[in-house]
């Protein structure tokens, strides 16, 4: 091949190259571990220009095989350069520049080749080493500023760095002067030992510690003969300059692959390319830190080589300064031979299927009618369909019956009951002395009238007086909650982000700073209320005063400022981008914040994610209030499209729910197949989810035909009207119920988190508790009716199955159960025991 030479001195940074595939038939073609055959290879990246003395590039060759898999075959390839004077490979297969010019690079494997052209320019140009350009990158790459090391809240060993180099000025200070982090003061903690020694650079702690020359809790983190060590040393030698702010900084980090599937024997080299603000592309593969968050599925080396360990799905976090990306890797034993055609109903299916296909997971079949009926009734209304409606649906022959059912459910009164219950939990409808009524009514009206969700959010965040859910701000004891707790909660609920940790220090594993936290908290700085008893009115006091009642035995005016706990400076309401709320808008700061929050993309994403979880048991981001840089969505595009669709339809919750339950994805069967048995992240089949305590109790009541009696125990004494269902209790705290307490009904004094795991007290209750004994056999209940009307055993069983499982019993079940009933010593007891078994079964207690 002839070398293509450019005219020397040309330092154009834009170079058009091309990638050439050459297929050379099957002679001597390579064979993968499962006997599939190599059909082609792909050389990456394309269009490489090495600029400057320190540039280098890593290459990856992917082989396409007859089983449809792409495998990393880099280490099996033979590489040749057309002009060896222009560039050379080191022993780690990394390419370095030698002289300005152009060369082609050929990779060859089993007779198949791929070629690319690459260019070298400015080979003699050295860039001065500065803190802001080079050292920050090394600290991040070597992991010095990781959250469990010096990047942790208080640093380690008396040395503090900001997490992921977020605050370079502060880091520069810590390195130059030493000292530790004080949670309650901006002064550095003694002792202050400078980390570098300008007179005697080799004696700098920054070098001695990580190389083990001086004892280092973190152990050996730097090799003395490494490039990083040399850069650090040279930097200190040159006076440890901070450097100017990088005018050619990283604008975007491209990580390849993004979602990839490998076999259990497989490996894959990650390629990281930085696109600089000038447009130039630079290889960053050896300048970032790799971390596998699921090390039993894949492990990743320091140089970005991913090794499969066991089947499953893993996230690999790639960290560069100011940029964090996550790659999903799926490990399979045997890739599926050919991927079938799967039908789709809406964009949810499109996006879910595209990932399933990439990951070689075949979704299950569509659910049967009975399965779908029970699931959608529980998910939309929290109510089991009565036996006659089950029969009606199962017998209906219409092709549109599922859509028709969805419409019926969305318009049903039970829909309003159920979602009032769910939102009452989320918005903590609580409070004493009868105040709970208007809060509950506000939620119910919002659901009944299908009020747009952003409007609901604004009404809550800015709730004033006696309106709506203004009680929400009185954290249980009728005084306004401290601002830091209010802002933490509202951000969790509406923005899906856990700011909480940033209250005392910069967030330990996300990018929130303490300053941002307190700037947001300041929006609640005027929140106060009038009186403890009587008319407890919530409002924003224009003077920012708060009246202190009774605790110290005196009344006094206490000025309530929002003060930064570290700097002890009064904080004004400030948006996260640093913009302070202008003075003439500070009368109603919560209104301003409400409008800001609801207009953010994050608001829509957090909302759709939260409601998605009600239908699938898992958010696209999970937990739903923990959107974080290293907790990525499993389906980012899906989340984005759902959020856009939601916005475009005016944040209409019913519209969102209809989209979800109409999708084929939602309606998939719960029976897994061979390819998707262990999949819990990609919606390949329906997963079983436990019923919420209230829904379970109501279901038991409806199947047994015995309504639950809720007698009051608190301020609002007296029993609830007969027939009140658990989901309709306005103020749960006033209607104690052993069953609900054992099954984890939340108290509404904190964001709702239900522990859905089995436990001993539940087990005791199922054996000996009233719900599972007295309630089954009470007068007027279903058993009573059936026995009094002398219904046959077969029909008893069928009625129970329709009521509890929304299906007909199978032949085998019918046979076995009629036999048991017939052979029992006491028929009535046996029927009761059958009912006991039904409501104790996993099929009953789960939504599947």
């Amino acid at each position: 091949m002839t070398a293509l030479r450019t005219t020397s001195g040309c330092s154009s940074l834009v170079f058009i190259s091309f990638l050439v595939f050459i297929f050379v038939g099957r002679a001597g073609a390579d064979v993968a571990d499962n006997e599939s055959v190599l059909s082609g290879i792909r050389l990456m990246p394309e269009g490489v220009t090495l600029v400057g003395a320190n540039a280098s590039q890593c290459f990856v060759v992917l082989g396409t095989y007859s089983d449809g898999m792409e495998r990393d075959v880099t280490d099996q390839c033979h590489f040749t350069l057309s002009d060896t004077a222009v560039a050379r490979f080191d022993m780690h297969r990394r390419l370095h520049p030698l002289a300005d010019g152009t060369t082609t690079l050929t990779a060859e494997l089993s007779g198949i080749s791929a070629v690319t052209t690459l260019r070298v320019a400015d080979v003699w140009r050295q860039q001065p080493i500065s803190f802001v350009r080079n050292i920050r990158m090394i600290l991040t790459k070597q992991g010095c500023n990781a959250s469990d090391c010096h990047g942790g809240v208080k640093g380690r060993g008396g040395f503090k760095l900001s997490l992921d180099a977020l605050d370079p000025r502060a880091d520069y200070g810590w390195i130059l002067n030493g000292g530790g982090f004080h949670v309650l003061s901006p002064e550095p903690l003694e002792p202050k030992e400078p980390r570098i020694n300008l007179e005697n650079p080799e004696q700098s702690l920054l070098l001695l510690k990580p190389t083990g020359e001086v004892s280092h809790e973190g152990g050996l983190q730097l090799e003395p003969d490494s490039r990083e060590f040399r850069i650090l040393l040279d930097w200190i030698h040159s006076g440890a300059p901070y450097g100017d702010n990088d005018d050619d900084s990283v604008a975007h980090l491209e990580v390849t692959p993004h979602d990839v599937v490998v076999t259990t024997e497989g490996h894959r080299q990650i390629l990281v390319t930085a696109r600089l603000s000038s447009g130039r592309r630079v290889d960053f593969t050896d300048q970032v830190r790799y971390e596998s968050l699921d090390r039993d599925v894949v492990k990743v080396t320091r140089t970005g080589l991913v090794h499969a360990q066991a089947p499953g799905e893993a996230r690999v976090v790639v960290r560069a300064v100011d940029h964090v990306t996550v790659t999903h890797v799926r490990v399979v034993e045997q890739p599926v031979a050919s991927y079938p055609q799967v039908s789709r109903v809406n964009y949810i299916d499109e996006l879910v299927l595209s990932k399933l296909e990439k990951f070689r997971i075949v979704p299950s079949e569509l659910s049967g009618d009975a399965e779908f009926l029970r699931r959608v009734c529980l998910d939309l209304t929290g109510t089991l369909p009565p036996p006659d409606r089950v029969r009606e649906f199962l017998d209906n022959k219409s092709a549109e019956k599922r859509d028709a059912l969805i419409s019926v459910l969305l318009d049903s009164p039970e829909f309003i009951d159920y979602w009032t219950f769910r939102l009452s939990d989320l918005f903590r409808v609580n409070g004493y002395y009868g105040w709970v009524h208007q809060s509950w009514e506000w939620v119910r009206k919002a659901v009944a009238r299908n009020r747009p969700y952003d409007q609901i959010a604004r009404e809550l965040i800015a709730a004033q007086g006696y309106n709506g859910n203004s009680r929400h701000f009185l954290l249980g004891d009728n005084k306004p909650a401290p601002v830091e707790r209010v802002v933490a909660e509202q951000f969790r609920v509406f923005m899906g982000r856990r700011l909480d940790c940033a209250q005392c220090h910069n967030h330990p594993f996300d990018q929130w700073t303490q300053d941002q936290f307190w700037g947001l908290a300041a929006f609640y700085g005027r929140l106060t209320n009038t009186e403890w008893y009587g008319d407890n009115v919530v409002f924003d006091d224009p003077d920012g005063h708060e009246v202190d009642f009774g605790d110290n035995g005196t009344d006094g005016l206490v000025f309530r400022r929002v003060m930064h706990p570290r700097t002890k400076v009064s904080v004004l309401p400030t948006f996260p981008d640093g913009q302070v709320l202008v003075e003439d808008r500070r009368i109603d700061p919560r209104q301003e914040l409400a409008e800001w929050i609801t207009s953010q993309d994050e608001f829509a994403e957090a909302a759709v994610n939260r409601f998605w979880r009600y239908f699938f048991g898992r958010g696209v981001v999970e937990p739903v209030d923990d959107f974080r840089i290293d907790n990525p969505p499993t389906h980012p595009e899906l989340l984005r499209v759902l959020a856009t669709d939601f916005r475009e339809h005016g944040c209409d919750l019913r519209h969102l729910m209809r989209r979800i339950v109409s999708s084929r994805t939602y309606q998939l069967s719960n029976q897994p197949n061979e390819t998707n048995q262990d999949d819990v992240l990609n919606y390949s089949h329906a997963l079983a989810r436990p019923l919420a305590a209230e829904v379970l109790l109501d279901a038991i009541s409806s199947v047994s035909g015995v309504p639950e009696v809720f007698s009051g125990g608190g301020i609002l004494t007296g029993a609830a009207p007969p027939g009140t269902r658990a989901i309709n209790l306005k103020l749960p705290a006033d209607y104690p119920s052993p069953f609900l307490e054992i099954y984890g009904r939340p108290k509404r004094d904190a964001v709702p988190e239900r522990d859905e795991r089995a436990n001993l007290r539940q087990a005791l209750h199922t054996l000996a508790g009233t719900t599972y004994n007295d309630k089954l056999r009470a007068e007027g209940g279903r058993i009573d009716e059936l026995l009094r009307n002398n219904v046959s055993d077969q029909e008893i069983i069928e009625q129970f199955y329709l009521a509890a499982f929304s299906r007909d019993p199978q032949e085998t079940e019918l046979l076995a159960l009629t036999k048991l009933l017939a052979g029992s010593l006491n028929h009535e007891e046996a029927v009761t025991d059958l009912l006991w078994a039904l409501i104790n079964s996993r099929e009953f207690a789960e939504n599947h």
């Binding site: 090391c149 249980g476 923990d626 199922t766 199978q810 079964s841």
Partner: protein, 450 residues
């Protein structure tokens, strides 16, 4: 990598056990472990070195709901209407309202310098039971649950019990939350009731062993198809718990542990025929059977004037109703435990969520006061017959040796042989101290008590 194996490896190598020396030879990579593994080993080794032989094996907490008035009980002052009396420990005086307890002062220590930060019932309960101020974004585990978690259950009896059930709004302050529902207390009703029986621990009469088998048979048929198709890790857990529950229900020893009618009438009289007395008696019985932590809640019944929250008629309530019962029961409990040789291994604590104001209000009552209050504790390795800390002349503020809730917890944990510097990781990612004191510090055990 098996942590225990690594610790053993580190120990058997001829390496110095000191951490810094270990590092000087650059041995991290030699052992083939990474930083976080190393730090985990380091924590485990440090914890092992801090492990003490705790004396205490169980704890009975007399929870004086509502906040007892400290200057009218443990810390007599001139602004109390009551006089002080001497005790069987020279130099220690307590209120005249506690004559029977005064004869057991050698078994008890009084802390007069307690300091807490929440002055409201709900929040006060939360603070004093968990050491943290309540938050709408987080739930914290209670002292009893932590002790249950850090000790092993004994003899198949429930390890954590609350008797009788407190106001439903306060239940969650006594629970384990994220550390696991298996450490939650079991709530039992008032043993002073004539028809006292434990719900959920006794099968209804109509449910015989035969019927239990019948039910299991039905369940097997009913769930077979479903469980074969939809396999789920939780299913196995449900089975396990049901087996354990059945064992507990059928167990004779568990039944006996809760059978207060087996106690001689005379002893029941000595403890006092009221909720507090009978609950303390059943607590002793439970501890004898192997329960680790019993909370006796002196029921906060709104509006009956029977609770410790004496915003009105403080003196009358304390003198005529509240303190005499406590006096009788606490004295009886201490004597009974000593007689049975259980006092050395059973800690007894009597406290509320705060104290009461040094000043009388217009209704003749005292209001909430968290800035300085008292509690008393003894047994389980706590050295009795002493007073810790001092309050000012009115009992309003701590004047010497403040003790925070974190310090109290640290003391209790140390007595149990639990490492009080332990931190649990909340699912949110925040480490939570089990003995959380002020300013984000860990509490210090009160050495004068150990």
């Amino acid at each position: 990598m098996d942590l225990k194996k690594l610790i053993r490896t580190a120990a058997t190598f001829d390496m110095p056990s000191r951490r810094r020396d270990l590092l000087r030879v650059g041995s991290l990579t030699f052992l083939g472990i990474n930083l976080s593994q190393y730090l985990a080993i380091e924590n485990a080794m440090a914890a092992a070195s801090r492990q003490l032989q705790g004396k205490s094996e169980a704890c009975i907490l007399l929870w004086l709901n509502g906040g007892p008035s400290h200057i009218d009980m443990w810390d007599p002052k001139s602004n109390s209407s009551f006089k002080s009396i001497s005790t069987n420990v020279p130099g220690i005086e307590i209120s005249e309202l506690l004559p029977q307890v005064s004869r057991h002062m050698d078994k008890l220590a009084i802390i007069r310098s307690m300091y807490s930060e929440e002055n409201n019932h709900g929040k006060g309960h939360h603070y004093v039971m968990t050491g943290h101020r309540p938050s709408p974004t987080m739930k914290f585990p209670a002292l009893g649950s932590i002790i249950t978690k850090e000790t092993t259950a004994r003899n198949g009896v429930p390890p954590n019990v609350m008797v009788p059930k407190i106001h439903p709004g306060y239940l969650s302050y006594f629970k384990s939350h994220f550390i696991g529902a298996e450490y939650d207390p079991i709530f039992i009703p008032d043993p002073n009731d004539e028809d006292f029986s434990i719900p959920d621990l006794r099968l209804p009469k109509s449910v015989t062993t035969r019927r239990i088998h019948q039910r299991e048979t039905f369940l097997d048929v009913v769930d077979r198809l479903y469980r074969r198709g939809v396999e789920h890790a939780e299913h196995a857990n449900v089975d396990t718990f049901r087996k354990r529950a059945l064992n507990m229900i059928l167990s004779e020893s568990v039944r006996r542990a809760f059978d207060i009618s087996a106690e001689p009438d005379k002893l029941r009289d000595v403890y006092g025929r009221h909720t507090l007395g009978q609950s303390a008696l059943i607590a002793r019985r439970l501890v004898e059977s192997g329960t680790r932590f019993v909370t006796v809640s002196d029921l906060h019944r709104e509006g009956t004037g029977r609770d410790w929250d004496t915003h009105g008629k403080n003196d009358e309530q304390h003198r005529d109703h509240l303190v005499p019962q406590l006096d009788q029961t606490l004295a009886a409990l201490l004597a009974d435990l000593e007689d049975r040789g259980l006092l050395d291994t059973t800690m007894v604590i009597a406290m509320g969520e705060f104290g009461r104001t040094p000043d009388i209000n217009s209704g003749g009552g005292r209001d909430h006061w968290c800035h300085c209050w008292s509690l008393t504790l003894g047994g389980g390795g706590i050295r009795g017959g002493r007073v810790i800390g001092e309050s000012d002349e009115r009992g309003a503020y701590v004047s010497d040796r403040m003790v925070t809730i974190g310090d109290l917890f640290a003391t209790i944990y140390k007595a149990f042989g639990i490492d009080w510097t332990t931190e649990y990781l909340h699912p949110v990612g925040r480490p939570l101290k089990i003995a959380n004191s002020l300013n984000d510090e860990t509490g210090e055990p009160v050495e004068e008590l150990m």
